[in-house]
């Protein structure tokens, strides 16, 4: 039996699981997907917001700036890319400057440090490529960018080496309570647990509604994005927002931690919680709106587009805490933007609740340090020589666009919670994420996965389930 079962291996579930490993608790994390970060955590804006967007009396308002401030330490401990590049909210109309000032006041109340209204002249000095139509902006030096899936992988790996057990391909079918114990039925087994943490993203309502009469409703709100080649990555140096509208934060333009340029998202409410398709209208819309901020975005350098689902709750705020009618069932639901930014603070809040409930002993053996996969592309030549001398696989380039070596791919497969799929390798190493989008390396990575996992190449999938890449041998399909 587990003390804690976290449902959902996204950035929230993994943040909470890692936090709880600091105690002598038996922690389990389950997910319906074959890997961590398979839902919202893999496809979002990858922004660590400063924290001025939400009202001060909301959880979003309280947790964003707090979470933001926790990132520096977390990124060092867990060795994931995080860069405090700062952000700008652009205002295009003299009449709207008042709103910018209100936004700043709200940020100040939320505890955001260093907010500043900047005029056009100063703005053009900071970001020379920004549109001439801009009149002023709110500058937030604490805004940052992160790699959200690498962060989630790092949290999960660290939780795993500190004792958390991860179960994938485990969709929750039912939850019942027998005396004080919850029994979670999944595709594969029944899991007994004293306490449940619901971090199921867009499915958090279904999980909640299995145990509680306080029904919640999560709307999958889709956002589409375009990712541009690294050659376009320096067109701006900060995250560029537009003054928010009712549907969201407008279209942002931002460098990514890997040096690409990201534009998006739009916001479309859906019924289908799996619908991460992109649409022609959506992509055209974000490109058009992104050009309001930076008119010279080189759209011919788009290398891929994608969409992600935000877990939007009707309350329009995070739902965090024990459910009134279900003891030991704790929600971390409705976690949409600024959910990624708030993740460390959400984990701390849930930790506090759990500690009050279970009064666990501290785990003095907890090791907060996780080292990432060595990144050949970021090494100097001396470091490269050294690692190749130790393992010649680090001298074999597999992904030429992102300069990813076979050594890194093998490491990604072999390490705790290792990659089992093409996308798993991609998110851990960036192999296949470059300008050719895996045209050259996908065949090689399939070979390496098959060799390392000791299966036929035909068993290798893109992201688990039925996403097989090969259907048979030649003449035999």
């Amino acid at each position: 039996m587990f003390d804690i079962t976290v449902i959902g291996a996204g950035v929230i579930g993994c943040s909470i699981a890692r936090e709880l490993c600091k105690y002598k608790l038996k922690v389990c994390v389950i997910d319906k997907a074959s890997d961590v970060a398979d839902g919202t955590s893999k496809a979002n804006s990858a922004i660590i917001h400063a924290g001025f967007d939400a009202k001060p009396n909301t959880l979003k308002g309280r947790l964003n700036a707090k979470g933001n401030a926790m990132f520096d330490k977390l990124a060092v401990e867990l060795d994931f890319p995080f860069n405090r590049i700062g952000s700008l909210v652009l205002c295009f109309d003299e009449g709207d400057v008042e709103k910018l000032i209100e936004l700043k006041a709200q940020g100040d109340k939320n505890g955001v440090q260093g907010l500043e209204i900047v005029d056009k002249k100063r703005l053009k000095e900071i970001e020379p490529n920004i549109s001439e139509d801009v009149v002023a902006a709110l500058y937030a030096p604490t805004g940052g960018i992160v790699c959200p899936y690498e962060m989630t992988i790092a949290l999960a790996e660290n939780a795993a080496v500190n004792g958390a057990e991860f179960k994938f391909n485990s969709e929750v079918k039912a939850i019942k309570k027998v005396e004080d114990i919850y029994i979670i039925s999944t595709d594969n087994e029944e899991i007994e647990t004293k306490l449940i943490i619901n971090a199921a993203g867009v499915y958090a309502d279904e999980i909640n509604n299995m145990v509680s009469n306080n029904k919640i409703h999560i709307i999958p709100r889709r956002g589409e994005y375009c990712l541009l080649d690294k050659a376009a990555g320096k067109i701006v140096s900060k995250t560029i927002f537009q003054l928010p509208t009712k549907l969201g934060k407008g279209i942002l333009v931002t460098p990514t931690v890997d040096g690409n340029l990201l534009i998006g998202p739009n916001a479309v409410d859906l019924e289908d919680k799996e619908d991460i398709t992109t649409t022609r209208e959506g992509l055209e819309d974000i490109i058009k709106k992104a050009k309001l901020s930076v008119s010279d975005i080189p759209v011919n350098q788009i290398i891929t587009s994608f969409s992600g689902l935000r877990a939007h709750s009707l309350q329009d705020d995070f739902i965090i805490g024990e459910t009134a009618d279900a003891e030991n069932f704790i929600n971390a639901a409705g976690i949409e933007s600024p959910g990624l930014s708030s993740a460390p603070a959400i984990a701390a809040m849930v930790e506090e609740i759990v500690v009050k409930k279970l009064k666990p002993e501290e785990n003095y053996e907890f090791n907060p340090i996780r080292k990432g996969i060595p990144k050949f592309r970021e090494m100097n030549n001396e470091e490269r020589k050294e690692i190749i001398a130790k393992d010649s696989a680090y001298g074999k380039i597999v992904c030429r666009c992102e300069t990813v070596t076979e050594g890194e791919i093998v490491e990604a497969i072999r390490r705790p919670l290792g990659a089992k799929t093409l996308d798993g390798v991609k998110r851990r190493t960036r192999a296949g994420m470059g300008r050719c989008q895996s045209g050259f390396c996908s065949t090689k990575i399939v070979d390496i996965l098959a060799r390392e996992l000791k299966v036929s190449p035909m068993e290798i999938t893109k992201f688990g389930r039925e996403s097989r890449l090969l259907v048979g041998k030649n003449k035999n399909i």
């Binding site: 375009c226 050659a231 959506g282 030549n381 680090y394 999938t461 097989r468 041998k473 399909i477």
Partner: protein
């Protein structure tokens, strides 16, 4: 640091031919750097025939064509390193490369030939909306799975784009037991060779849907179908013409791009049209002693032309190593009115022995038109072409005599003309 007279980056057809001609021109100290496991480049997976008609007057498969050059490289004892990826090239012609055996290699070269080839444009380049499930491959990746690894990436296939690899893969997938339901081309004409349309589509009754594109991809884990639609003259989908085709695979053959990240980082000037370096008649880039040939320069239709162009690069690199300079670009070649670009882009008549071949592609399909070459205002060549198509590369020969006739000429203009 190792020293070589000539380092050739890429051991495909371009790099091999350049190495051979440089060796034949008296350069012994040559090194070919190849990132793959064997020499030959993409020809190794092009197991269909049709290679070498011009060069060897016989029809060879890709591997056979490559082998002829690999054998020559071996016979001539030209050195090469496999599984070796070049990481950078500097202005001083210092090359940093990596492999598992040597670790990091630093090589100083007197001359460098860029022969890195090209890569396929991915889905994102044309921003196809829809599902991002498994079953979407570039035609070249599918070709590698089938021809090198022996695995089929799908059973029911739609191919977007009618470039040569797409056409070849339509036939290949069919021969290996798959059903190719359609080849969909956004333009009103194919981007591939006429012979490939006949031999790869017509002969297998595979429909070619011109002026159509894929507007949606359906499927959760694996492709379940695609929606195609007719497009208008601005290549916008026309409402009401949508058609759903069930399939488990979408292959993309939507264009090739010269692979020039090394060149760009070395600040070599690239053509905005081809994406390849802008070279002179001697195949030298704007960086002295750095030459380029093959698909890294512009995407060829036939490997035979790659070979010819690369011989030229090898010969001139040899001359450079022996002390000749190719400094001045006296004449600029302008590509206008239907001609998209030319290779070379610049000419210095002093460097021409007998003649040079100027290769280019046109931007549209033309019937019964003329290719005209103007030396400044004077029309020197006016040759009738029954059909001009973007899928086929064109060549005009400019002779030493012409340059002598128009001594002092500043600009050569090449265009498609009615009369």
């Amino acid at each position: 640091m190792q020293q070589y007279d000539l380092v050739i980056i890429g051991g495909g057809p371009a790099g091999l031919a350049a190495a051979i001609s440089a060796k034949d021109s008296g350069i012994d100290n040559i090194l070919i750097l190849e990132r793959d496991d064997s020499l030959g480049g993409i020809l190794n997976q092009c197991i269909h025939n049709g290679f070498g008609l011009h060069t060897f007057k016989e029809e060879l498969t890709g591997p056979e064509y490559a082998q002829k050059f690999i054998d020559m490289v071996e016979e001539k004892r030209i050195t090469y390193k496999l599984k070796t990826m070049v990481l950078s090239l500097t202005k001083d012609k210092i090359i940093t490369a990596v492999n598992g055996e040597d670790g990091i290699l630093e090589i100083k070269a007197k001359a460098v030939i860029l022969a890195m080839g090209c890569r396929e444009r991915p889905r994102g380049a044309i921003n196809i909306p829809g599902s991002r499930c498994a079953g979407i491959y570039t035609a070249g990746a599918a070709q590698k799975f089938v021809n090198i690894d022996g695995y089929m990436p799908g059973k029911e296939v739609v191919i977007l784009g009618s470039g040569d690899i797409g056409l070849i893969m339509a036939r290949r997938m069919t021969l290996e037991g798959a059903k190719v339901k359609a080849v969909v081309e956004v333009m009103p004409y194919s981007g591939g060779l006429k012979r490939n349309i006949v031999q790869c589509l017509d002969d297998f009754c595979i429909p070619l849907k011109l002026s159509h594109t894929v507007i949606d991809v359906k499927g959760k884990d694996r492709v379940e179908g695609v929606v195609i639609a007719m497009v208008d003259e601005n290549r916008r989908p026309i409402e009401g013409t949508e058609e759903y085709i069930t399939c488990d695979t979408l292959l993309l053959s939507v264009g090739l791009v010269p692979e020039n990240e090394l060149s760009r980082n070395a600040e070599i000037s690239l053509s905005p049209v081809t994406g390849g370096p802008m070279v002179n008649e001697s195949m030298q880039t704007n960086m002295e002693g750095v030459f380029a040939c093959g698909n890294v320069l512009h995407v060829h239709d036939l490997v035979d032309y790659v070979t010819l162009e690369s011989y030229n690069a090898g010969i001139n690199a040899a001359k450079y190593i022996k002390g000749k300079e190719f400094k001045e670009n006296k004449i600029e070649i302008m590509a206008v009115e239907g001609v998209r670009y030319t290779v070379p882009k610049y000419v210095n008549p002093e460097n021409i022995d007998k003649s040079i071949d100027v290769r280019f592609r046109v931007g549209d399909v033309y019937k019964d038109k003329y290719i005209s070459v103007y030396f400044d205002e004077n029309r020197e060549i006016h040759s009738k072409k029954r059909v001009l198509a973007p899928g086929e590369m064109e060549t005009v020969k400019l002779t030493k005599a012409m340059f002598e006739k128009y001594d002092g000429c500043k600009t050569i203009t090449i265009k498609v003309e009615g009369e």
